[in-house]
Structure formats: structure tokens, C-alpha cells
Symmetry: C2
């Protein structure tokens, strides 16, 4: 996780490739300081207390192809929050090392280092971000509309993500000796099982370019899953509403900046 800092002119509306030195910094708040809070291996201080925000550099520990890291990148971009990108090499199992698990016992990315605390679990992170940084909200304020967003978002996050996640796919290969073809069938089976009802609900809601007026929590969670679906040759275009939302999002700089293709730890960017 060696990391040098470089500035990224990421706030311009046009897509810019991030720097290729393995670390990207785009900090809205240039003053950093020693922060209260979390001590690896020890107690979490300040749980239940107030937080100090807006004065420190947010660090996103993630991996370019991790769909949950991709969620966080989208959310931070949509909210206009600067962050430092700290790549964690999942292929080298860096997330399972003691240096990482003492800070995040789940041994998973993303981990967000912000306001003096290390935070894990992408859905908890997204909900926290929207509460702690209420500007440019990921969800509307109306309770019914929030339910509409969360129903579809959590369908993807709770039903679909885990069966398609790398540890499960590895188990199928290593413990059950399944072929790549059988694993691909598994992958597409669960995609269909959740994306079909998501599409049906979007049709009931008669959605346009986005679930609501602008991209938010749902699009933040949908797009990484659709990216994976296309990698596995799933016919995303069979779902008209989902494909339209995907296209509308990919036209936006926030989603372009967050895309796996444009991350410094994507090997294709180190050529």
C-alpha cells in the first residue's frame, strides 16, 4: 500500500484519467491534523459522541474492481467530497493482513478513514455519509421516496452482492471443484433472479434516466453490479430501464471518475 500523493484535477466536468502512481489525492480540505478516535486493536472512542468533520482528509482504502469500493467512489464523487485513494491489493490478500484487520476486523474493502475513525461495510458507510455530510444527499428527505430508493438498493446489496462476491466464487471453485462454466451459470442465475424484479419494479414506477430526479443511493449500488454483469456477459440490455439508467449514469463525470477503468491500481493504467 505504498502511496505517494499527487493532485488530481478531478473536479472538472470532463473525465480525467487519474494519476498512475498508485495513489490519488483529491482533498477538499487541505489542512490535516492529528485526529481523535480510533486506536487499532483498542476501544473505539467517541462512539455515541459528536464527530468533527470537514477538516480532515478522507482516505478510501479500496480496490479498483471491488464493486463495494466502486460504490463508495461513486458516492464520494456525487457528494463532491474529496478523498485520498489508498489501493488495497485483494489479489495479494493485503486486506487479510494484521495491519489491516486490526483496523477493520472484517478484512474487507472498502474501508473509509474519516473523522478519526476507520469505517467498514459499504452500506453502513453510504448511510453514514448521507447523514454526516447531508449536502448533495444520496436520498431524498421524503420518507416514502426513501423507502422506494432503499427497496431497490437493498435488493441488490443483500440478495445479489454476496453470492457474486469473490470469496464465494473461490469457494465454488476450490471446495466444490466447479468449472468456470458452472460458476458463470451461477453468476448469471443470481443476476437474473434480482435484476428481473428490480426491472419490474422500475417499470411499475415508470422511471426515466434515474430512479428519481437525479442519481443517488440506488444508482450508486446499481452501477457496480451492472459493470460486473457485463464482465460476465449477462444481457443487461434485456432490462430496458436498468440499461437506460446505466447509460445516463455513465455519461456523468462522477460515475466516470469512479469507474474501475480509471483507477490508479487498475493494472491497465500502469502500462
Amino acid at each position: 500500500m505504498m502511496c505517494t500523493r499527487s493532485s488530481w484535477a478531478a473536479r472538472s466536468p470532463a473525465l480525467r484519467r487519474s494519476s498512475h502512481d498508485g495513489c490519488t489525492t483529491h482533498t477538499l480540505h487541505p489542512s490535516t491534523r492529528s485526529l481523535p478516535g480510533y486506536h487499532p486493536g483498542g476501544r473505539v472512542e467517541g462512539v455515541g459522541g459528536s464527530i468533527r468533520r470537514g477538516q480532515n482528509t478522507v482516505k478510501l482504502h479500496g480496490y479498483f474492481r471491488s464493486s463495494t469500493s466502486y460504490r463508495l467512489r461513486i458516492a464520494l464523487e456525487l457528494k463532491g467530497l474529496g478523498y485520498e485513494n489508498v489501493p488495497v491489493n485483494l489479489l495479494a490478500s493485503e486486506q487479510k493482513g494484521e495491519a489491516f484487520t486490526s483496523r477493520n476486523p472484517f478484512g474487507s474493502v472498502p474501508m473509509l478513514e474519516a473523522d478519526g475513525r476507520d469505517r467498514a461495510q459499504s452500506m453502513a458507510l453510504l448511510e453514514w455519509l448521507d447523514e454526516a455530510y447531508p449536502d448533495k444527499p444520496l436520498m431524498p428527505s421524503d420518507i416514502e421516496a426513501r423507502y422506494t430508493v432503499r427497496e431497490l438498493t437493498y435488493a441488490i446489496a443483500t440478495e445479489l452482492h454476496a453470492p457474486l462476491n469473490l470469496p464465494v466464487l473461490k469457494y465454488l471453485k476450490n471446495e466444490y471443484s466447479q468449472s468456470q462454466e458452472a460458476i458463470d451459470a451461477w453468476y448469471r442465475h443470481w443476476l437474473a433472479r434480482t435484476l428481473e424484479p428490480v426491472e419490474a419494479r422500475l417499470a411499475q414506477l415508470d422511471t426515466g434516466d434515474f430512479l428519481l430526479d437525479a442519481p443517488g443511493l440506488f444508482e450508486t449500488v446499481l452501477l457496480p453490479q451492472v459493470y460486473n454483469a457485463r464482465r460476465f456477459k449477462y444481457d443487461v440490455d434485456a432490462h430496458g430501464h436498468i440499461a437506460r439508467i446505466e447509460a445516463a449514469c455513465l455519461a456523468l463525470p462522477a460515475f466516470q471518475h469512479a469507474h474501475p477503468d480509471n483507477q490508479p491500481d487498475n493494472p491497465e493504467n500502469s502500462a
Copy 2:
């Protein structure tokens, strides 16, 4: 899903067996009326608008052993919200019939019929309940404490639930021809993979009988998973903090009322 109504003296502190006629009604608000809102197969009206609440009977469409239905039962009990229990027989695939999927395209339980709308996806439902019915909150108001609750809750809901859910287990058996022994090993593997870090985080937080001062969202999601873990002979007691929280919850009437053993559609209750 035939259902007759009977009253249930469920608000008493002592555990009462629910009635055995296949349907339990405990209604806080006796007046029901025609409600605006959801039209199966059509548009959802009122999305983004205000809701009318507190005047209609909430109906929980669920299954006694479904862990996500169990979550909803606990939440409704903790919040003191009366509801009518409408059993959906998953073994007879009732949730996949047109009558059900036209209302809930996910074809899943729980489905909550409340305030003129059919709602699915248990985590979206729990978040909605806490926003729409803010009395007896499932989460504290402090943003940092809410993150603490959600990190552990969503670890279980997003990493652990899906790989252990019935459709996945059926796939392993039917498509991959795995033995029950191999499926049991899978089950315990994913339990350990999430419950171990949950236990580690609880130890860092030095928790007592509950994650915070009283049971809430975390316990609502934890207890059904622990119930399943014990059914699969997983050594829950190896996790001291989790086992202590389990015991403290099971001593409370809300958790007892919600328990699968005490549901009218549990076949053991129809003897």
C-alpha cells in the same frame, strides 16, 4: 393464505403462544379504511408524497422460519406496533404465485402491507419503519452511534444472509449435486466468516447485554441469524459477546413473541 382473525393478548409481558388458526391479529388501531396507494401491476401512487399512517392495520406476510420475516416480527414487537400475521407457505412456493408477485415482484417474504402500500426487502422495511414510526426507535439519533449499529447490522444482512438463504442452498443441492454434509460445511463457513469479525468488533466496543443500551436494529438482525446458526449446529457459544446478547434478547417478551417457535404457521403449533 387463508386467514381468520383472532385476538392475541400479546402485549402482556409474559410469553403467550399465539393462536393456532393460521393467523394472528393484534391491532393497535382498530379502525381500518380504504387506503390510497399501491395498485398491483400499475404505478405506485404517492411516491415522494406524504403518507397516512397509524390508522390502518399493518399486515405482515411472512413465514415462521424465514429469518427476514423474523426480523420484521422483532422490529414490530420492539416498536409496539400491532400487526396482522399473514402466513405465506414457502414450501408450497406461494410467494412465487402471480397473486403474490404482482404485489411484490421479488417474490419474497417478508412483505409488509401498511399505509396503503406493499413493501418488500427487509432492510428497506426496517429503515422505513424507524423513519415512519419514530417512537421506540430501533436506532439512536446520534450519527456515530447509528454508524456503529449499521456496520454490524449490514455485515450480517449483506455478507451472511444471502449465502445461507434457502434458494442458494437449493442451488448447491440441485445444480451442483452437493451432499448435505458439504452444504452444512458451506453454511458454517460463512457463519464463521462474518460472526468472527462481528464478535471482534463487539469486543472492541466492550458491549454488555446489547450493542447499545437497549435492543435495536442490530439485535433485530442478529437474533434470526443466530437462531439459524444453532439449527445448523454452529458453535454460537464460542462467541461470548454474541451469545450474551442472544441470551439477553431471548429473555425479553418482544423476542419471544417474534420467535419461530411461537408462530401460528409453525407446524409444531398445529398438533
